[in-house]
């Protein structure tokens, strides 16, 4: 096994959850997620030599994953869409919603998913990273904007989603 191969394997082993985490949001079915995952791996392989350690490895992985996800989504849906997994509680945590949600969870998730898909492209990327529990500093580094800017954007997104939640509850 050469050095590049070894480095690649280590990176994938250590970051598998990050890559699959992002892929999950951009494809609705398992086959598409697998295809996208493979595409991210190909792009990591192609770019592995350009990783100089300027950013954290996880940030670098998120950059490749997000950029690939955007390109991949185009092949399948033309319009980038975000898909939420109801089994995942990260959205509830983000919205500070009671974990013991009633039967209406499915309906609520659909409403929030629709609302998220109304967001701008950049806001959608930020949302996927927030739901992946990526910290603000790292999101700023993935997108290439300042941390306060990320905070402002997240605050605005949260408010918009809370408004939706309010109308849903009423």
């Amino acid at each position: 096994m050469n050095k590049k191969e070894e480095k690649f394997r280590k990176i994938i082993n250590d970051n598998e959850h990050r890559i699959s985490g992002i892929c999950r949001y951009y494809s609705s079915n398992e086959d598409d997620q697998k295809d996208m995952y493979q595409e991210v791996l190909i792009n990591i392989w192609k770019s592995i030599d350009s990783f100089r350690g300027d950013a954290q490895l996880s940030t670098w992985i998120y950059r490749v994953a997000v950029n690939t996800a955007m390109g991949f989504a185009n092949k399948e849906v033309r319009r980038q869409k975000i898909f939420l997994d109801q089994k995942d509680n990260s959205l509830q945590n983000f919205m500070d919603v009671d974990e013991n949600l009633n039967k209406e969870k499915e309906k609520l998730y659909k409403v929030l998913e629709n609302q998220i898909n109304q967001l701008s492209v950049i806001d959608k990327i930020i949302m996927t990273l927030v739901l992946e529990s990526v910290n603000h500093k790292e999101i700023a580094s993935v997108i290439g904007i300042t941390e306060p800017n990320v905070r402002v954007k997240i605050h605005r997104i949260k408010n918009e989603l809370k408004e939706t939640l309010k109308s849903f509850n009423s």
């Binding site: 792009n43 770019s47 350009s50 990783f51 670098w60 950059r63 490749v64 997000v66 950029n67 690939t68 996800a69 955007m70 390109g71 991949f72 989504a73 185009n74 092949k75 033309r78 319009r79 980038q80 109304q118 967001l119 701008s120 492209v121 950049i122 990327i125 580094s141 993935v142 997108i143 290439g144 904007i145 800017n149």
Partner: protein, 189 residues
Amino acid sequence: MKIMKKDKIHTMNLDSLINEMGSKDIKYKKMMKRFQIVFFIFIFLYAGLFIINPDPDLTIYDRMAGLCYVVAFTLFTIQFRSLHKKFKQVNYCDPVKKVLKDAEKRYRLWHKNLLLVGIAILCIDAASILVMFDRFNERWTIWEFILIVQVLYFVLIGIGFTFGYLRWRNESRPIWLSAKTLLEELGEK
């Protein structure tokens, strides 16, 4: 007003942008390489035919024209070399904003480098006048001759630019506009 802006942003496809960029980068890379080779051949061909060639029939105007051609093709080669390099350096591991900034620069219509192309075009213009000068100066006055060559030359250049512009408008402008709009959304151009 806010809603309108948001709708506009929503229709922007960063996904399609990156996807198109990928395929176009490969296409342009190949194209640039081909152009580079062609201009490289032209440099040697024109230097050989007009400057090094010992043929006594070649006038000083022909040799000056040859020099203009060589300068023009050298400038074209430099231009395509720099474009080729730019496409080679595309890195999708950069932050989203940098990927967008690079795309905005790469796909815009006017570059600083186009100044070199402008100089090269003027060199070819000068060469065309010099190379035909001796052959036509008996039929027309020098000013008539220069005017005719200029009109013909710039009509051809105009046609070339029109085709270039139409191609840019169809292929590159949508990517450039998407990148520009998304950069505006990020609060920086």
